[in-house]
Amino acid sequence: MQPQTIWQRMLSIDRRWLYAILFVNIVVFLLSPVRLRAPISPPVQKFYDEIESLRPGDLVMISSNWSASTLAENQPQLEAVLKHLMRKGVHFTFISIEAQSRDISLRLAKRLTEEAGYEYGKQWAHFGFVPNLIVAIKGMVNDLPATIKQDVTGTPIQQLPVTKGVKSLKDYKMVIDITPSGTVPIWISYSPKEVRILYCPTSVMAAEAYTYLDSGQVKGMITGAKGAQEYEQLLGITGLGAPFANAISFSHVLIIFFILLGNFALLMQRLHERREG
């Protein structure tokens, strides 16, 4: 048996070495004191400007549909957005079409609102879980109290100060969809035209949303953890976004290097085989 060339050995490297390299790369750049500033991308700037245009007491619907599987992407987004909304004195209500997200968003919001002195029922509320978003939106446009009935504490929503007098989704100024799945087309399709839609997708979903940004159906977008870092910068706060985006940057360099390395090794192996006949 012929001895393997270095290129063959490179191409057939044990995948566990690759896993270890990636793991070490992330550990190193999370621990490193280097923190690069992010350029503010236009969709994030628009997102920020839209929330800045809200007035204290305006009502916003937060559609939180993420589970722990995308925690690292959606949590920094939700934290940054909530902090901005509370800074502006804006009132908000949550709705979830993902069962797990109901409790994740409720617990996260409880922690953040307590820190900011926001009162449940008065300035914010959680409508719990609904499995069918399309009919829920249709229902909320038609008659919001009859659709939602009660919040997670079992209080009829007409009795909550935050939603007192709210009859329809039309009474909301904005919908913010924080999601890893295709829920934003549903909000675009069924919510009233006068309600502005802002979008916080995981990075996987972001490229597909540029057509909605171009048509104005979505007014602004925060893309994953790196978008959260940009938003934190705009708000002047320190959150999870900065260390995450920093490590993401260098993991990208590693991936690009390895894609090129894989192709280079293949090329060299082919040349070697050609030479050997």
Partner: protein, 226 residues
């Protein structure tokens, strides 16, 4: 020494973090090879996820939309909804399986009927936005610059070429074929953007986990200072 004492699972919170890290490492053990430790936690994960869903499904939905309207408000007609929905559970039966199709038909029919609104509100505004893109400089649009016009032209050409590539109703030849090939290349740009963003998302999720191990478990402070 202080660090070590703090590190140990001596408080409920620390105990929770230790449990979280054991769960994470158990799942990561799959990367080395398939093993009973991983299988144990995998099954526990599925069981927990399925069990958890019963809370929101049972209380947030069934209580809110079925129990409360009947038992508290007294609207008796709702009583028929759950028995009707239970027809779904015949899906596992060979003999009665077709009965579940009645309920599935309700769900599918409703989704189909709702799609007309989606078509009108989701796709038509995009068509409208494309048709409204100015393709030449004029006094009607004083803010328009040459680069914006070029970008608009590019936008329309890419859209048309990709749509041509997607048209399979006739055999593409000559100029049309070349235009469709151009469309395929532009489509690759879209897919490349998706790939780049997908890598970013996946790295983000792993970074979140490693952050948890370093920051929460090992208590190495990871700052976000910029």
């Amino acid at each position: 020494m202080d660090w070590f004492m703090e590190f140990l699972p001596r408080t409920p919170e620390r105990l929770g973090i230790w449990i979280g890290v054991i769960c994470t490492l158990a799942i990561y053990s799959l990367l080395y090879r398939e093993n009973p430790f991983y299988r144990f936690f995998e099954h526990m994960y599925i069981g927990l996820a399925a069990g958890y869903s019963l809370g929101p499904l049972g209380v947030d939905v069934l209580y809110r939309y079925w129990v409360e309207p009947i038992w508290v408000q007294g609207y008796w007609a709702w009583a028929f909804v759950v028995p009707y929905g239970m027809y779904l559970y015949f899906i596992f039966s060979e003999r009665y399986g077709w009965i579940s199709r009645i309920v599935i038909g309700t769900l599918i029919g409703a989704s189909a009927g709702l799609f007309f609104q989606e078509f009108s509100s989701r796709y038509l505004p995009q068509l409208n936005s494309t048709l409204q893109k100015p393709l030449w400089l004029s006094s009607a649009n004083p803010d328009l610059t040459v680069s914006m016009v070029i970008n608009n032209f590019l936008f329309v050409i890419i859209l048309l070429s990709v749509l041509t590539y997607f048209t399979f109703s006739y055999e593409q030849r000559g100029g049309v074929k070349r235009f469709a090939t151009l469309g395929r290349w532009f489509l690759m740009i879209g897919l490349g953007a998706i790939f780049g963003n997908t890598v970013m998302a996946r790295m983000g999720l792993l970074i979140g986990r490693i952050y948890y191990i370093l920051n929460d478990w090992l208590m190495i402070p990871i700052g976000g200072a910029q």
